[in-house]
């Protein structure tokens, strides 16, 4: 099958490649770009382990072909660290509040939380539970994930206040 030319920005870097048009975006990220933070749990868009941020939206990257991401601006969990390599606020809160056990769903959870807290910077517990309902976790019962997101919201708001 003829290869398709694709070009996109991933974690702030421009990438360009020739890909089989049937390649799913998650496979392109993991196999071609060796960005293995986004994980595959189902390939049917149910589990959310492959969640990335595309042009300001949370997207399950097994849902789309690589060609559909042509020209897009993509952020994965790897792109959420600060410029100096230290943990971003949401990553720090997940680490500190044990918002993970096995860690397999974590990159998708954090990437989804990153977008959720921009959609709604002051979420209630219920807002967080519904806002994260597309991401499955089998270890934690979601308890510490919900707490980590709530703490991240507080920390981000405090940062914003301090900046103002």
């Amino acid at each position: 099958m003829a290869k398709q030319h694709v070009k996109m920005t991933v974690n702030g870097k421009e990438v360009e490649a020739l890909a089989d048009p049937r390649t799913l975006l998650i496979h392109f990220l993991r196999e071609d770009l060796k960005i293995t933070g986004p994980h595959i749990g189902c390939e049917t868009s149910h589990c959310g382990a492959c969640t990335v941020d595309i042009d300001g939206k949370s997207v399950k990257s097994c849902t789309m072909f690589v060609g559909q991401a042509h020209g897009a601006d993509i952020t994965t969990v790897e792109g959420l660290v600060n410029a100096d390599g230290s943990l971003g606020v949401i990553q720090e809160m997940f680490r500190e509040h044990h918002g993970l056990q096995c860690g397999y769903c974590t990159p998708g959870m954090i990437t989804r939380a990153h977008r959720l807290l921009q959609e709604n910077p002051t979420p209630t517990e219920e807002d967080i539970r519904f806002g994260m309902a597309g991401n499955l976790c089998r270890c934690t019962g979601y308890q510490n994930i919900v707490k980590a997101v709530a703490h991240a919201a507080d920390a981000l708001n405090a940062q914003k206040e301090a900046a103002e």
Binding site: T36, H98, Q101, G103, C105, M132, L136
Partner: protein, 751 residues
């Protein structure tokens, strides 16, 4: 190993019981952690397994000629590419890993191929022509043991089965004590009911994945997500006909297991393809294959009969447990039977189990295998009896609770146990006293799990700067890298942050049994403590040599070697860094080691309280409040312990309300994806309250009991009781999904 060597010896701690940062935190929040599918190798091929679409079929012909000619295909394997002449469990595993002449369930592996890309492998898989001849199948456990059911495997009975039973019944268990008939005669109320639960899947989010490379000389390397890489090594070597030590296995970071990654499914296939192609092969299971061909629990069908006097004393209890482990003889029916009444101190108890083969995938362990369904049945009958006699369900459980010294329903006498303490904590918890609104119901239940020790080997290596590395062989499925470092810090007297615990590969440490049976914090923890003490002894010897005194006159405290008293001499305490800095010149590297099969695991009990609301229009159940009370012996890192309690409870909520294997009339699995196999999501759940009870386990130096499994034993029962009390109709089949609840309400209203 003698029990007394492990007598409890500490009651106050500097590190154990604190809540430091998780050692795996940064790796897991940045994407740096490497899971099963994250490893690559130069020249790597991608593999696909072809699976039977039929529940039961003769494999007439496999024609691979077109696939072999397809672009990129480098190797194709069938059963002929594996060892022959195996017997026992190795034969069963091979029979499951790659079908012989018959496909035994929907999803049974039949053939596999490897190609230079995943897309090429998937394309080529469509070109393999497999001719099947369908034969009659059976997937229901009760139907599989009824007269006329198709026989899965002739002669599989292990000799324990009573005469006259269907050949699909392959193992029988019976245990108990006293005279149950005499006990029932003394009761004021005798209740006998039948219960059913469907199979569920562990539902780990990471599919099974591995990367294997084996040369034609039989030497190989394997990277895989597993709960036990020495077991993978042993099984793969047997199935490929090579020596165990020729294969080195490294365990990846593991994305959930819950028992399901104790079994071997795909690793021998990747290695067989690799040996044929002479290239590394990566094999990752699609989610549908994970559902169809790995894991599930056994469906269960159970009869429970209990006698009780008016004051709530249980006079006798009897249970029959029929479980199917799929097309293989291994359903954990004896665990169902042995755990069923283990919470109670009974004069008369009898339990029987039947292991039944059917056309389902080979069952694998799932958190306290066999126990949750038995607890559901037993605790439902107790709840109903309390309702009928007007008794408080927790007080009745307290009245009958097993205590230290009680004769367990399954035989031995209990050592120091904490069921009474969990019940008292539950009775005094604000949750139990909180009022309920109209349409809401409360359920309670107790649960038991054995816990396990198992073969264990640990090494501890000191570095010249006084920091330490621990090599353990039990993959970290519940936070063991943190708990090992805490326990070692306690012995060495150095900061937790100065200790790094890693999971060693099979060539770097002695044999370690799988991370199962809630054994890791207990057994690897015990071995870590002993290995640290071994290193401490060596450091005391170095200090003694430097001071010119007897090693027995030196003791270790808070990171220092110290002379034991004025008679030993006047010397300044010697810090660990002083000893390790010069260790090359004072006798060589200082390491500690310990290996044993410890047998004092210490059983564990829990009591759960749950409030639920049932919508009579839709049959939907909402969990309003949930409290877990469980004995941890000693919680090494309480946050991880709470995490185990919360996770177990939520998996139980899924099992109780929604999760089930649904087989069609044709014997194929109807819901092999997360859309239709519905695990709980964040918006389904409340916060789960946890109470850690600590009744020390005398078999561990710090009193630790395993905590990973007990937490899933009470939820099915507690939720079924809450739902039954809310809806006003007894739910005797799980999951209590909306259609089942609506049907039960309709039946009740129809009288």
């Amino acid at each position: 190993m003698a029990r007394d060597e492990f007598e409890a010896e500490r009651t106050t701690y500097n590190f154990v019981g604190t809540r430091p940062d998780r050692p795996d935190g940064i790796d897991k929040v940045t994407g740096r952690a490497r899971f099963g599918a994250d490893m690559t190798a130069p020249g790597m091929l991608h593999a696909v397994i072809l699976r039977s679409p039929h529940a039961h079929a003769k494999i007439v012909k496999i024609d691979t000629s077109k696939a072999e000619a397809a672009p990129g295909v480098k190797a194709i394997v069938t059963r002929a590419d594996f060892a022959d002449g195996l017997d026992g469990e190795n034969w069963n595993i091979l029979e499951n890993v790659m079908a012989g002449d018959t496909a035994l369930y929907d999803g049974h592996a039949v053939c596999a191929l490897a190609a230079t890309s995943m897309l090429e492998a998937r394309d080529a898989a469509k070109l393999v022509e497999i001719e099947y001849e369908r034969i009659p199948h059976v997937t229901d456990v009760d139907k599989a043991m009824a007269p006329g059911a198709p026989v899965i495997r002739e002669g599989a009975d292990d000799g324990s089965v009573p005469a006259g039973m269907h050949p699909n019944v392959v193992r029988y268990h019976e245990s108990g004590h006293g005279d149950v008939e005499a006990g029932f005669a003394k009761a004021d109320l005798v209740l006998e009911e039948t219960f059913k639960t469907e199979a569920t899947h562990q539902g780990y989010i990471e599919p099974h994945a591995c990367l294997g490379h084996m040369g034609t000389d039989g030497k190989g390397e394997l990277w895989c997500c597993t709960q036990g890489h020495w077991n993978v090594q042993k099984v793969c070597a047997a199935l490929l006909g090579t020596e165990t030590s020729a294969l080195r296995v490294t365990a990846s970071e593991i994305g959930g297991g819950f028992g399901g990654k104790t079994a071997v499914f795909i690793e021998p296939v990747a290695l067989a393809l690799s040996r044929k192609a002479n290239r590394p092969v990566k094999l990752v299971m699609p989610r549908a294959d994970v559902f169809r061909a790995t894991g599930p629990t056994s469906p269960a069908s159970m009869d429970i009969k209990i006698g009780m006097t008016k004051d709530g004393t249980i006079t006798a209890a009897k249970g029959v447990f029929r479980l199917s482990g799929g097309a293989f003889p291994e359903a954990p029916m004896e665990f169902s039977a042995m755990c069923a009444f283990a919470c109670y101190d009974l004069e008369n108890v009898l339990q029987m189990g039947y292991d039944v083969m059917s056309n389902r995938p080979k069952q694998a362990a799932y958190r306290a295998p066999g126990a949750p369904m038995a607890a559901f049945a037993v605790e439902s009958v107790l709840d109903e009896m309390c309702n009928q006699l007007g008794l408080d369900p927790l007080e009745v459980r307290l009245k009958n609770a097993a205590k230290t010294g009680s004769k367990a329903s399954y035989g031995p006498r209990f050592d120091q146990i904490g069921l009474v303490e969990t019940l008292e904590a539950a009775i005094n918890h604000p949750h139990y006293k909180a009022p309920l609104a109209e349409g809401q119901g409360r359920g309670v239940a107790c649960g038991f799990w054995f816990n396990h020790g198992g073969e264990t080997s640990v090494s501890l290596m000191l570095s010249e700067d006084g920091t330490a590395q621990i090599a353990v062989g039990t993959p970290d499925i519940g936070g063991s890298r943190a708990s090992m470092a805490l326990m070692a810090a306690e012995v060495l007297g150095i900061p937790y942050e100065n200790i790094r615990c890693v999971i060693a590969d099979t060539s770097s440490l002695g044999y370690n049994e799988i991370s199962h049976g809630s054994r890791v914090t207990y057994a690897s923890g015990l071995a870590t403590i002993k290995a640290a003490k071994d290193a401490v002894n060596r450091m005391c010897q170095r200090a003694a040599a430097k001071w010119g005194i007897d090693p027995d006159a030196v003791y270790w405290e808070d990171g220092y070697a110290k002379p034991s008293g004025p008679n030993a001499g006047e010397f300044d305490p010697m810090h660990i860094t002083e000893i390790t800095a010069n260790m090359g010149a004072t006798g060589g590297p200082i390491n500690g080691h310990f290996e044993a099969t410890p047998e004092g695991a210490g059983v564990s009990f829990g009591t759960h309280i749950v409030d639920a609301e049932v919508d009579p229009e839709t049959g939907h159940t909402k969990i309003l409040r949930y409290t877990v009370v469980q004995d941890a012996g000693k919680a090494v890192h309480p946050t991880y312990v709470e995490g185990q309690y919360q996770g177990g409870a939520v998996q139980g909520i899924g099992w109780a309300l929604n999760e089930e294997y649904i087989y069609g009339e044709d014997g194929s699995l109807q819901n092999a994806l997360f859309l239709d196999y519905r695990v709980p999501v964040a918006s389904d759940l409340p916060m789960i309250d946890t109470v850690i009870v600590e009744v020390p386990n005398p078999g561990h130096p710090f009193g630790v009991r395993g905590v990973g499994e007990t937490g899933i034993v009470p939820p099915l029962a507690a939720i079924a009781n809450a739902v039954s009390n809310a809806a006003g109709v007894r739910m005797r089949q799980l999951p209590a999904s909306p259609p089942r609840i609506l049907a039960a309400l309709k039946d009740r209203d129809a009288g």
